[in-house]
Every structure is written in C-alpha cells, then in structure tokens.
Subunit: 123 residues, 2 copies
DNA sequence: ATTAGTGTTCTAGTTAGATAGTACACTAAT
DNA sequence: ATTAGTGTACTATCTAACTAGAACACTAAT
C-alpha cells in the first residue's frame, strides 16, 4: 500500500476502514494476528503512532484484541464480526440513498442508475 | 442550517457540496444570486472566510460567477450545470459500488441490497 | 538472565482547516 | 459625493491530525 490517501479523512480512520473491509471479506480470519504496529507502519508508509491509533480505535470497537507483548488479533467473537459487516453495509447503502436523494433522484432512478452503471462497468 | 457538520470533511467543501446539490436539484436556478459571503456565513454559523473559500472553490469549478460589488451568481452556462449533475451522480454511484465491492458483495447483491433497503424505508 | 518482538506512553513539532478582526476595492442607489 | 452592500485580502491565533523520536513495559524464546 502506498500513500494514496484522501486528504479529507484522517489516515488512521482510513486504515481502520481498510482493515475492517479485509476482515469482513474474510481475507483476515477471526483470531488471526495483524501486522505489528511497526510493521504495519512501514507497510502503510505512515508513522507508528498513526497505526497505534488505528488499532486503539479498532479495539474500542471490539474488532480486534491486543495482547501486550504478543500482538494485535482479530476478535474471536463471530457475532461482533457479523454485526460489523451488517453495519458497514447499511451505512454504505444509507449514505448512497441520502446522496442520491440530495441530487433529486427518486428511488426508481437510484436503482436504474445503479443498474446502468454496473452494465457499463462489465465491458 | 445549524452546525451539524461531519468532522471528517472540511466545512467549506461540505457547504459547496450542499449548494451544488441545491443547484442540481433546480432549487437554485441559473443566474440566481447566492447569499452574500457575510449573509451565508451567518446562515451557516461559520466564519465569512470559510464561505469565501467555498465560493472561490465553486468559481474555480465554473459553477458560480462572482461580480465584484454585486454578488455571486449561479452560472448561466447550462452545459456546466448538466455536466455537474452527471458528474455528481456518477461519483456517488462509483463510490457506492467501490465500497460494496470492498466488503465483498457481488453486483447482484448490491442491487438486491439496495432494493431491500428502499423497501424497508418506505414504511 | 538475556534478547527480540511486541504494545504503550510521552514530548515536541508540523500542517491544514477554521476562526477572528480588520481593511481595502468595486458597484449601484441615493 | 455619500452610503450600503458586495467581493477580496491580509495577519494572527487556535485546534486536530499527523509526524518524529525516544523511552518504557510486557511476553516468549533462548
């Protein structure tokens, strides 16, 4: 991962989002160890303190658990992961609907607009 | 409008987005005068300098035109407004698709997920 | 006991966004 | 000419996010 962050969102949140996606997709399993703070900092090209915040935030949300001296691990609590996926999906859809509504689109137009976009993308 | 900004995005951009939506929805017509910098600052509960940045940014994008001593006006160039609406819509859909893809959803699931959400919303 | 790898904490400094206050310049109406 | 309303410009200050560097504390393996 290089430095291609959007300036609008704090980097530590962006990294947390990215990790959350990986976990939700099943790319990282429950109980699996995340890269160490220092390792992840190098991978992401940011300061270790930034990763520290990312991990702290994710621990606060119950997504990961840290064991001092051992590392940071994806939670074994499957329910938390299930809820996380559900919440992330709802958030995305909600914000999509809200944004389209702000532009004046009807529910019908949202669906047809999406379908047309996906059809175009497949080529 | 009160102070209910998201912390993640610069306020001057959020206000620009909001105004753009109003224009695209037709709530503000081509040629119409926007509130003055000072007036808009009071309405939005922010500093005039912040609005100044909003208007500068929107002028840079060709959405508005400023006439010194007279005010800031929605551009008369209908093509610009048409392109703006199209661009905003595409951006929203694109980011929705990208986010859903990141969570591991297929194109089918995106559409059915959206439909289910809208169905629920109608109640 | 020592070492390597880990999370944790602290202080200091930088930057962008936002605020605050003031002043200047242009336009239209009086 | 004056005035009110407008955009524009400038300096100073504040804060959150981020960076930088160092130190501390715990764990497991040797």
């Amino acid at each position: 991962m290089a430095k291609d962050f959007q300036s609008s969102k704090p980097i530590y949140i962006q990294i947390a989002d990215h990790l959350s996606s990986q976990i939700v997709r099943g790319e990282m399993r429950a109980g699996e160890k995340l890269p160490s703070v220092r390792e992840m900092a190098i991978q992401s090209g940011v300061n270790p303190n930034t990763i520290q915040r990312t991990y702290s935030e994710m621990e606060r949300m119950g997504i990961v658990e840290t064991r001092r001296g051992q590392g940071t691990f994806v939670t074994e609590n499957e329910q938390v992961l299930k809820d996380l996926k559900s919440r992330l999906q709802t958030d995305i859809i909600h914000s999509f609907v809200q944004n389209m509504k702000d532009l004046g689109y009807s529910q019908e137009e949202m669906i047809t607009g999406l379908e047309q976009y996906l059809r175009r993308e497949q080529e």
